[in-house]
Symmetry: C2
Subunit: 129 residues, 2 copies
DNA sequence: TATTGTTATACTCTATAACTATA
DNA sequence: TATAGTTATAGAGTATAACAATA
C-alpha cells in the first residue's frame, strides 16, 4: 500500500486514478456499463457519469448493442489507448528509476515475488481486475 | 497497486482510508496540523477538516502549544489507538488468509521482498510516510 | 416484471481564496 | 510581515432513490 501511495503521489499522473482505471479495463477489451460498474465496484450512476466524461474527453466510444437496446458497449478510442500507454510508461519509468540501485540478485528476487503475488491475487477472488 | 486495491475493497474496512491514514500518522507520534498536511500531501483546510471530524469522533486530542499559540498538537486518544489496532488486525488477517496456501519457501521469498521494497521506498524520498 | 442505464439530489473529500490569531 | 490554522465557497466522485427504455 505504501508503494501504491508513493506512485500515486510522485509519478506525476496525468489523469485521475479512477478514470485511468476505467480506461485500463477498456484497454483489455470492450465492456458494457454494467460490467464496468461491477469490476470497478462502484454504483451504476457513478460509472455512468465517469464514462460520460471520458466520452466527452474523446477517450471512449459508445455503441448500442444491435440486439439488446438497453446495452451500451464501451471501447477505447485511439486517444484513449494513447492515454493508457503514456500513463503506463510514466509509471514504469518511475519504478525503473527506483530499482536502478539494486543488485541483479535483488531484482530477480522482486521479479519472483511479483509472480507470486499475482498468483495469490488470482487464486483469491477470480476478480479479473 | 492491485494488492492495495484488493485490500481496500475486500477487507471490510471500518474507517475511510484517508482518516485511517491520519490516525496511523498520529499513532507513530503526536504531530501538528501542518506536519500532517505535509505528510498526507493535502491542503491545510483539508487536513483541518479531517482532524476536526476525528476529534468529534473522539479519536484525536487537540492541545495548544504552551510557547507558540498558533500551533495545535494532535495525538491519539485511547479510542483512536483502538481503531488503528483493530483496522491493522483486520488487514493482517486478510493478508494471512491469502498467504496460507503458500509454501514456507514462498513466504520467505515474500518476506525478503518486503524488506527490499521498504529499503527502496526509504532510500527514495525520505518520506517518513 | 426484470434489467440496463440515466437523472435528481445529497454527502464527502479536495482545493483556492480570504480571514483570524500569534510571532 | 510571516506563519499556523480556520472559514467560505466551489469542484469532483460517490451513493441512494426515482425514472425511462427495453426485454
Amino acid at each position: 500500500m505504501r508503494v501504491a501511495r508513493k506512485v500515486r503521489f510522485d509519478a506525476d499522473n496525468t489523469i485521475a486514478p479512477h478514470r485511468f482505471s476505467v480506461l485500463v479495463r477498456l484497454h483489455d477489451r470492450p465492456r458494457t456499463l454494467g460490467e464496468l460498474a461491477a469490476i470497478e465496484q462502484v454504483s451504476a450512476p457513478s460509472i455512468s457519469r465517469t464514462v460520460a466524461q471520458l466520452h466527452e474527453q474523446g477517450y471512449v466510444d459508445r455503441a448500442p448493442d444491435p440486439d439488446d437496446g438497453r446495452l451500451v458497449h464501451l471501447s477505447l478510442t485511439d486517444a484513449g489507448r494513447e492515454v493508457v500507454d503514456r500513463e503506463r510508461a510514466l509509471r514504469d519509468a518511475w519504478m525503473a528509476a527506483r530499482l536502478e540501485g539494486l543488485s541483479e540478485g535483488d531484482r530477480e528476487l522482486l521479479r519472483k515475488a511479483a509472480v507470486l503475488i499475482e498468483q495469490v491475487l488470482d487464486a483469491d477472488g477470480r476478480e479479473s481486475r
